[in-house]
Symmetry: C2
Subunit: 262 residues, 2 copies
């Protein structure tokens, strides 16, 4: 695919002005993309604690002050209410709206969490010469609920969700070391090999995303997934929550490569 | 010095029973030692946020549930109220007592934070063959307030405190890579070389700890220091806070080496 030369600042401006919509994979000159979760302050302490206790599925990139929609450390000048190309509004655990602008929903007591995303370590895998089937085929990755329990915090509890990529056996070690450099983007895999060990009955039936295809000699490699905190937050039936729409991530100004050295 | 063969569990039991007092350097079979900070729940969110925003000076090892004194992830069965050989009690920012048992001060709304400590990366430096003057001489490390601002969170704000070790020029790169493996214990240095650049006027006058001696060719190397969160918390004049006494750390069951692979 052709490389899009726009900077993250330009992409965010184009999203804000309505010029750009759609998923963000491949955009933003190899800068860190992030998951968004916005919760009322009343639930923010337990959610922050949940992220601290489960850093692999919930690597925090930034936590804004209550009421503040500018992630000052990773994208100064940005507005988290307008600079993402799709949002979901949840009330009491149910999806109630899908919108392009959350300013009408914004409140002074809302806390915005930005959580690292697999795009960063996928970039590192590709850069290391590792083939990723779903990228070559233009598909989504496969995601599964596992039997690995997260450490709970207040009302937030549940199993870890993982993403799975078929990796050539000779590249498994390289996939581990390349992704381990990025703890801010899920880090090293949580499991390599037999899916039954972590409670996955059938690799061909992912709970989210697309079924993957294995080439001869490919090994299933599992990474902690940013769907985990969203799934856990939804299961706790929060009175109110805003997230990005799947695939519509927030683009920060931080180069992926810099995340390994923060 | 002779190696003490007691496990962290045995050390904690000996501290609890009064058999053991004094500093903990060198004890516990190369397991992670941690700084303790205990705050009321009312201030815990901002403190947790401060740690999240400043992971180099404030690497969180564990955050307990409110009222709970057992750090279940890193030392199951331990009691943070009795298993440290010295505690300090602060009220409105002033030291009001130094005790061996904080059960009389414990409350249901207290949140205990365990923060990584330089012993872990010093062990990694020694293991890599790097000489540390203060350990050879039985002294403390030198610590300085810097002009590096921490990112603030609520009432918590202030400059980063760093520790400094003179390192042979040929070992500086090795000191960086050896400590970088342990983000849970301050990670890689925050500065190498000229102290004036980070606002330190005179290396011979540390703000805390002991003056260090340089051998010819030694370079000053600066790491973020766990004194930072305590200094910041005290400066904010919290109504109530408990910390460990300097040098009297909490011993976890986690081997230092394992901290690099969590």
């Amino acid at each position: 695919m052709a490389i899009d030369p726009r900077t993250p600042q330009q992409i965010r401006a184009d999203i804000r002005s309505g010029k750009l919509s759609g998923p963000t994979a491949g955009l933003g000159q190899n800068c860190v993309q992030a998951n968004l979760a916005v919760l009322p302050k009343a639930q923010a302490y337990d959610f922050l604690l949940f992220c601290q206790r489960n850093p692999k599925p919930c690597p925090l990139i930034e936590v804004c002050d209550a009421g503040c929609a500018e992630p000052r450390a990773v994208a100064p000048g940005a507005d988290l209410r307008t600079d993402i190309s799709g949002y979901r509004i949840y009330q009491n655990g149910s999806l109630t709206a899908e919108v392009r602008d959350v300013r009408p929903y914004w409140r002074d007591d809302l806390v915005a969490f930005l959580i690292g995303c697999s795009f960063t370590f996928e970039w590192a895998l590709l850069d290391a010469g590792i083939r990723l089937w779903h990228i070559e085929q233009g598909k989504g990755v496969a995601m599964y609920r596992t039997s690995i329990p997260c450490r709970s915090a207040g009302a937030f509890q549940g199993p870890m969700v993982v993403s799975m990529r078929p990796i050539a056996a000779r590249d498994v070690a390289k996939a581990v070391t390349a992704s381990a450099r990025f703890p801010g983007a899920h880090g090293a895999p949580v499991h390599v090999g037999d899916p039954a060990t972590i409670g996955i009955a059938d690799l061909d039936r992912p709970d989210y995303g697309d079924r993957q295809q294995f080439r001869p000699g490919d090994v299933p490699v599992f990474w902690a997934c940013g769907v985990t905190p969203q799934a856990v937050a939804l299961a706790s039936r929060l009175p109110f929550m805003i997230t990005h729409s799947p695939g519509h991530m927030f683009l920060t100004d931080v180069p992926n490569a810099a995340l390994a050295a923060l």
